[in-house]
């Protein structure tokens, strides 16, 4: 079933199309939610809420651009809205003063997606949210600051430290593997 038929079926509330839509995107969107959630259950809650919004607003999708990108944006916005309801504490963890741009790409190539997701999950919340939004979703620091209610400078600082933290963890993991 192509995307256009799938979307039209979902607009018609066709159960078969909705099931196909869910099967097509749930796996990837769950990863998005797991990057923001504290645990699997919270991720499932985010996924449910996100898909409800997707199905409610599917008729607003204008067949321009990627459907997956549209769904992903809804999931991310939903996750951010849920996080905004919680008061996020941004802590400064010592010894993580900023990441490097000359990180060996081969290290990341050798790492599995599960390992990367696990390491991101271990990050402190403030680091994790900023890192997700900037590095993966592509938000600007200005947008991150507006979303999370912090200063733009704090967003930059948190991101730099998050990047360094993650790189350190990756290097340690690499050493252990070797």
């Amino acid at each position: 079933m192509n995307e256009e038929d799938l979307i039209k079926g979902c607009i018609r509330e066709d159960r078969v199309c909705q099931r196909e839509f869910y099967k097509r995107f749930a796996g990837k969107m769950m990863v998005v939610c797991m990057r923001y959630a504290a645990d699997r259950m919270e991720a499932e809650d985010m996924l449910q809420e996100g898909f409800i919004k997707v199905f409610d607003h599917i008729k607003g999708f204008k067949m321009e651009g990627s459907l997956e990108g549209w769904v992903r944006r809804i999931m991310v916005n939903n996750a951010i809205n849920k996080l905004r309801a919680k008061k996020i504490q941004f802590e400064d963890i010592d010894n993580h003063q900023g990441g490097t741009d000359t990180f060996d790409a081969g290290v990341l190539d050798r790492m599995s997606e599960q390992d990367i997701l696990r390491l991101i999950g271990k990050m402190p919340k403030g680091y994790r949210y900023v890192f997700n939004m900037y590095a993966i979703e592509g938000y600007s620091h200005r947008e991150i600051a507006d979303s999370l209610g912090i200063e733009e400078a704090s967003s930059r600082s948190q991101y730099a430290k998050a990047k360094k933290y993650l790189q350190d963890q990756i290097i340690q993991l690499e050493k252990i593997n070797l």
Binding site: M41, D109, I120, K125, I136, I176
Partner: protein, 492 residues
């Protein structure tokens, strides 16, 4: 590597990644959407549906009264015009109700405590617990697997205060069979070790274990509950024993932990009845020629329970008034005798005109007609048991049913046809007899409220009637073409 390569690689890897998601989540999504949609107010929909059902019932009843025959007269021999005695019909109705119940999930939010006894014995005993909403919750590792020292770990009440730690021995840690420190960090809950409820006592299901620097090779366990969030962890830490999680994957339970609904249907089933004889004799042949279609009424309810995939089983009870109508004429011949009288005159020369009368006895075959117009009526309780295949299209639920019918005929009355005497005799019996049949149907259900659906269901039923046990001269078979309307109630 240059700018943004690190971020790009991370993003590319994670955007490609997929994790397994249970299908039950989709059911939950649909239920929540349905609960938010308000197309009908519940009471208004109910009033509308009941009004339609009552009007339909009145209309069909009036139509049936107009259709029913009041003249069934018995035939007489040697008569040219024969009529059959009167017949009658019965109608009654029953309905059943049902109820449902909801599930609700609950969050867990309590302080974590772990007992550590001195002798590590058994390893982690995996135990799955489930929320009542059907989603899986992950538990932390049993404290007995962690260690056996008796010290308790408590959280400080003050959020910013310190977290006390326990000191398990190497042997205790080694007792954690098959798990490493990394396993507890696994974001996939199915791969994380579990902790029995009696250990975490309803606290957060996510336990994080830290390895402190200064004592390589030994892990110091820190347990903290959700309120003491990771951002309160003030110490720097290194992961000495960080090792990749093994690629072995514990199979995630594919058991459908989400509940699929049980349905209860209440149906009103007017049917167009066509019948035939089940016997092979001459009476049966003649009766088939006299069979005419008639309306039947039926009320009932059924319960539909989901099976795997799109299949469900159902069972129910129907109360049915079956009427088999016979109308027409039976042509037959029989011997007749007639005496013809001939009168003639003779002109006698002596006596004058003499009248001569001659009588001739003539035997001949006379054509006769027996008029038949009666109904055989049966009241039965019907137990359908069957299987449905369910699917949806354009927001409407559909199902294809196939069922076996177990019939108990509890009341019988009608006219038995006798061709040798060209007459009918009445029969009536309240002695029950039984029969089997089969039915198919195609159901469409449109949602009125989250719990109620309006059903329309055309279908066919075919079953035998052992009416000879009630005094009839032939057995009968019925083929009903029905169009059912009703309500479906969703039980969770």
């Amino acid at each position: 590597m240059k700018d943004n390569s690190f971020e790009k690689q991370i993003a590319e890897k994670l955007n490609r990644m997929e994790v397994r998601v249970p299908d039950s989540l989709l059911d939950s999504i649909m239920e929540k959407r349905a609960a938010r949609q308000k197309k009908f107010t519940g009471f208004g929909a109910l009033v509308t549906v009941v009004s339609v059902a009552v009007l339909g019932l009145i209309g069909i009843t009036l139509y049936m009264q107009e259709f029913s025959s009041d003249d069934n007269k018995s035939s007489g021999a040697l008569q040219e015009n024969v009529s059959t005695p009167e017949g009658g019909s019965q109608n009654s109705s029953e309905q059943a109700d049902n109820n449902g119940s909801d599930n609700s999930g609950e969050a867990q939010n309590a302080l974590a405590q772990a007992d550590q006894s001195e002798n590590a014995k058994d390893a982690v005993t995996p135990k799955r617990t489930f929320r009542r909403s059907g989603r899986m919750q992950s538990d932390a590792v049993t404290a007995s697997a962690i260690g056996e020292s008796a010290s308790r770990i408590r959280l400080a009440k003050n959020r910013t205060s310190s977290i006390r730690t326990a000191q398990p021995t190497k042997a205790q840690l080694a007792a954690i069979a098959g798990f490493t420190a990394d396993d507890y960090f696994n974001t996939a809950s199915t791969l994380r070790p579990e902790i029995a409820f009696e250990q975490h006592k309803g606290n957060s299901h996510l336990y994080v274990y830290e390895a402190f620097a200064g004592d390589p090779g030994m892990s110091t366990l820190m347990l903290f509950s959700r309120p003491a969030r990771m951002n309160r962890f003030l110490r720097s830490y290194t992961f000495e024993a960080l090792s990749p999680v093994s690629a072995k994957s514990k199979t995630q339970s594919t058991k459908n932990i989400g509940k699929r609904p049980v349905f209860v249907d209440v149906l009103f089933m007017p049917a167009w009845n066509m019948h035939s004889s089940a016997s092979g004799n001459e009476i049966a042949r003649i009766s088939d020629g006299l069979s005419v279609a008639s309306f039947n009424n039926q009320f009932g309810f059924r319960i539909s329970v989901p099976l795997q995939n799109a299949f469900s089983v159902f069972g129910g009870v129907n109360y049915k008034a079956q009427s088999n109508r016979y109308k027409g004429e039976i042509q037959y011949s029989e011997n007749e005798t007639r005496i013809d009288k001939h009168v003639s005159y003779i002109n006698d020369p002596v006596k004058g005109v003499i009248q001569v009368v001659r009588y001739d006895t003539v035997q001949y075959m006379a054509d006769r007609t027996q008029h038949v117009d009666h109904k055989n009526t049966y009241t039965l309780l019907q137990l359908p048991v069957g299987v449905s295949y369910n699917f949806g299209y354009k927001g409407i639920d559909f199902a294809v049913h196939g069922s076996a019918l177990f019939n108990a005929f509890i009341q019988s009355s009608g006219q038995a046809l006798h061709i040798e005497t060209h007459s009918t005799t009445a029969f009536s019996s309240s002695k029950p007899f039984f029969g089997l049949g089969a039915g198919i149907g195609f159901m469409a259900a449109a949602r009125l409220t989250p719990r109620f659906r309006l059903i329309a269901e055309p279908g066919f039923q075919y079953y035998g009637i052992h009416s000879t046990r009630a005094g009839n001269t032939i057995g009968e078979k019925a083929l009903n073409a029905s169009f059912s309307v009703g309500l479906r109630y969703t039980v969770f």
